[in-house]
Symmetry: C2
């Protein structure tokens, strides 16, 4: 293998695939990035077995030559050092040469690095995925959907399926759902796809989707999603992002969402967030994060919290509208803040079905998202 | 105690004194901030016994009323919660009321916080310092002097005096010096002070001076420094910063600085920094950070490093001027980078007195700072 390549382009590709490198892996070959040169371009691959990412750099782009390949070939390089040294090379032009015994030279300006790489034959081969079922989602929408649900996944590895986000596709609508048994978040959106494309029980790790979000550029990009038996492939420009589908059956949550409410509030999102945030400061001293909400009259609710160590907090908050019964309810303020942080609307609607029933929070201006928090059972 | 105060002013003062709160203290009263209201203003005090900081808020500033004191008094409040809740209060106006049993109410907008404070009598009394010896140093100069020496203090608590920076004042010149036995940094500056103000062996913790630097504003501020028997007081506007002087005799380092060189190099600071930074990447894999510098001819030096795991790095670097003998020397690249980071000049001068003698680095355009690194003894 012998080639020259522009530093910035190599850096960008390294930045993409580096998301799949785990520092905790015990398999030596997976601490490396595989680079493979053909006369069409350079392919970088990294994998931690859960995620695999491949980034392709074409030999030219917009009439600019990016790579000149003199000899095709491949090698696996230790990722940590490779990532950092490429960033710091003195010149925009980088020359890479590999001999038959995996000896590699990297030259740039008057810098010269001599390394020993690893055998590319040892690197895991990425799965072939048949592209029968493809859906296309705008990148910024996909990032929003992941952000608006991912916070609710479980961090408890004892039920692996709950550490993931459930993906459902039916009748041209994609729905993401996450729950850790104490709270639930869903987000839905109409998506361009074959009308016969339906799936259910596709669960992808929340952490993985968070890494995926970091790779999706902010500007308009369409992400093609290919769903296979045990893998999902996300295609973003020249990057292929493979994720394992989590094993297990996702619990049916449809029955826990109440359809009628006994008390309904419309609140200004910012004012409610700020009040809960203040109440949270005291509540977290007790680890439980308990905050109490009590309806006062048609115009006000009282938000309060207390800590045996520090004291107590009370605030009167004006509501936009209130309908239904009087209410006294306790909930985890941290869970409420997590929901409020991902709601971009000016007003929110909160529906209650009694002090022991799930609390439902929705943005007031559309029906695409729904958040649920279970209340605390308290003695008064 | 009863008063109203503007949130921003209270926040700023809390921000200053909070630097003296240690999260590791076992003395309950020191987890608090003491607030004391008089009809002149509000004084906040915090202390971790090594550092004590006092910030005074006058009742008015620039014809604006900041505080209205209805009743004088004092209280100690739990710092962590107090710092955060004040920041998050809904209104610019804050009302604070304390009764005789240390019950405190904080009200702002429709928020109401009820807390129990601690007895201010239990809070340590700050030392009275006689202001016989005062020197005034411009704030930005003081920050620079601390930055240019503080990195070289020892982190090994077994010789406490070396964790500090040595302050010397003689003939109108202030000199700061730090060493951890492997390297040394000094910075000198002419200072306005009484001509008879001389001191030596004043050693102040590097960490403490780092905290002090964070309090000094960026714009032109004069810091008055009062040196007493076992304390130094720094006065910055309305903030008093007390620091303990470290016990022990600082070692005499004057004899280890060579006065003549066998080899001298002038190098472009940025180019040398970048080359050492690249070499460092490989060298740190061996934990020793060894980088080798070899003079090539009158125009070039070779910088190299190696790692048994990864490989080796070599770079040719053009020098501005070179005089004296040929040289082959090894040193800790991390120590060299630490020096290069604090040198603001375009060119540096490096003096060598042989492969086993201290390396002296100076900015090429002034004589106010000097850095020393001991070389490594290597076999070839």
């Amino acid at each position: 293998m012998k080639l020259t390549i522009l530093k910035n382009e190599l850096n960008d590709a390294i930045g993409h695939v580096s998301k799949a490198i785990s520092s905790r892996t015990t398999i030596p070959i997976l601490t490396g990035i595989k680079i493979e040169a053909t006369y069409q371009g350079l392919t970088l691959t990294a994998s931690d077995t859960d995620i695999s990412i491949q980034s392709f750099i074409p030999i030219d782009k917009d009439n600019e030559t990016i790579i000149q390949v003199t000899k095709a070939g491949s090698i696996v390089l230790p990722a940590k050092f490779f990532i950092e040294i490429i960033k710091k090379l003195p010149s925009q032009n980088i020359e890479i040469e590999v001999n038959d015994s995996f000896q590699i030279s990297i030259r740039s300006g008057s810098s010269d690095i001599q390394m020993v790489g690893m055998d590319p034959e040892e690197f895991p081969i990425l799965p072939r995925i048949e592209e029968n079922h493809v859906l296309s989602v705008p990148g910024d929408l996909l990032k929003t959907m992941v952000r608006q649900t991912g916070f609710a996944v479980s961090t408890n590895e004892s039920t692996p399926v709950l550490t993931g986000i459930l993906w459902k596709m039916a009748e041209g609508s994609l729905k993401l759902l996450a729950t850790d048994r104490h709270r639930l978040a869903t987000r839905e959106a109409a998506i361009e796809a074959d009308s016969d494309l339906n799936f259910n029980n596709i669960v992808i790790s929340g952490k993985t989707l968070n890494e995926l979000s970091k790779i999706i550029p902010d500007q308009n990009t369409l992400v093609d999603i290919v769903v296979a038996d045990n893998q999902v492939l996300f295609k973003i420009d020249n990057v292929l992002f493979y994720s394992r589908i989590l094993d297990g059956t996702y619990p049916d949550t449809s029955k826990i969402i109440p359809q009628v409410y006994k008390t309904e509030l419309v609140l200004r999102t910012k004012a409610f967030t700020d009040a809960i945030d203040r109440a949270y400061l005291l509540s977290r001293e007790e680890k439980t994060n308990i905050v109490k909400l009590i309806t006062q009259d048609e115009k006000n609710v009282e938000i309060s919290s207390s800590s045996s160590e520090l004291g107590k907090f009370t605030e009167q908050l004006e509501v936009e509208t209130m309908t239904g019964e009087e209410l006294k309810i306790s909930f985890n303020s941290k869970y409420m803040l997590d929901v409020l942080k991902v709601i971009d609307s000016e007003f929110i609607h909160i529906g209650f079905t009694g002090a022991m029933s799930p609390i439902i929070i929705k943005p007031n201006d559309h029906v695409n998202s729904l958040y649920l928090i279970l209340p605390y059972r308290t003695t008064n």
